[in-house]
């Protein structure tokens, strides 16, 4: 069992971690519209649409894992007194996978529009 002194030390460490900042990861989502989009031919559009779709599905899977990890930490916080504070600081609220995944879906919307304009075959 942790005594008052130990608890204080633990929270001091937590406070120090806070000082250093539990900053979010830097997320750089793919831009919806990019220079040179209009010059892409049908095979290039098809290839990009398919690659983006696969990557977006992967991000959705990883996003679910991250959110489940946060839920597990919340349960841990309740179950393990004192250590919970440290767990709270390890939450991942950067939403990296969600942002990247959604950005790819929007990018595909743009590429699909261009493919339609050019009369290309659009991947199902």
């Amino acid at each position: 069992m942790l005594g008052g002194g130990r608890l204080g030390q633990l929270l001091l460490v937590a406070g120090a971690l806070c000082l250093s900042g539990c900053a979010a990861k830097e997320v750089i989502p793919v831009k919806m519209a990019q220079a040179g989009d209009e010059d892409l031919d049908c095979p290039a559009l098809k290839q990009q649409i398919e690659a983006n779709r696969a990557a977006a599905e992967d991000f959705v899977r990883k996003d679910r894992q991250t959110k489940n990890g946060n839920i597990a930490k919340t349960v841990g916080m309740a179950a393990i007194p004192y250590v919970g504070v440290l767990l709270a600081m390890s939450y991942d609220l950067s939403n990296e996978e969600q942002i990247e995944g959604r950005a790819l879906v929007d990018r595909d919307e743009r590429l699909t529009y261009l493919a339609k304009q050019k009369g290309c075959e659009i991947p199902k």
């Binding site: 008052g4 937590a14 979010a24 997320v27 919806m32 600081m89 939450y91 959604r102």
Partner: protein, 185 residues
């Protein structure tokens, strides 16, 4: 004279309590008023075609706030903030005469788990269409904003301020793009 050990444990207790208070507090959703921007007279005017010709059609990707979790930005709040900002910039179209509808996809907010100064970055896709339904402007805007420790003591409140500031910055950057965008003829 104060015993050194007792003094140390009192200090530790104070830090422990401060940390708990900082972590506590119920989260509340971002306030639309705090996400709205007001036009500056010195700014470059918007292209004529956009004036009184725009409206916010859809906002997706926002999240409602769970008071036991962290502050978020919801779709209605974002829509109100962007709509009011368009209005005060003279861009809002009369009813049923919207030539340039705007769809917004809030990709997400990158938020810190904790910290004294809290930086939030909003990632938003703005999609402006013309009256034929073709894309007029498609912009992905990443807008960071930091709420300093001095602005709010409670972490939940600081995070809310950072969310609001980040959306304000995002709308500001979107307006700058609208001002300077030249469509290909």
């Amino acid at each position: 004279m104060i015993d050194r050990k007792s003094f140390r444990s009192k200090i530790q207790f104070s830090f422990a309590m401060a940390a708990l208070v900082a972590l506590a507090g119920c989260a509340s959703s971002a306030d639309p008023k705090a996400m709205t921007i007001a036009p500056q007279t010195s700014e470059k005017p918007f292209p004529e075609r956009l004036q009184h010709a725009m409206c916010v059609r859809n906002v997706t990707g926002g999240e409602s706030t769970n008071p036991m979790w962290v502050s978020k930005v919801d779709n209605d709040g974002f829509k109100t903030a962007l709509g009011t900002s368009l209005d005060s910039a003279g861009l809002t179209a009369p009813a049923d005469k919207c030539a340039y509808p705007v769809d917004v996809n809030l990709l997400g907010l990158s938020q810190p788990a904790a910290g004294f100064d809290m930086e939030v970055t909003s990632h938003v896709n703005y999609k402006v269409y013309d009256s034929s339904g073709a894309p007029y402007l498609l912009e992905t805007i990443d807008a960071p904003f930091t709420a300093a420790m001095g602005e709010a003591f409670l972490a939940t409140e600081r995070l809310k301020l950072a969310n609001e500031g980040s959306i304000r910055e995002s709308i500001k950057q979107f307006f700058d793009k609208l001002r300077n965008f030249e469509p290909k003829s």
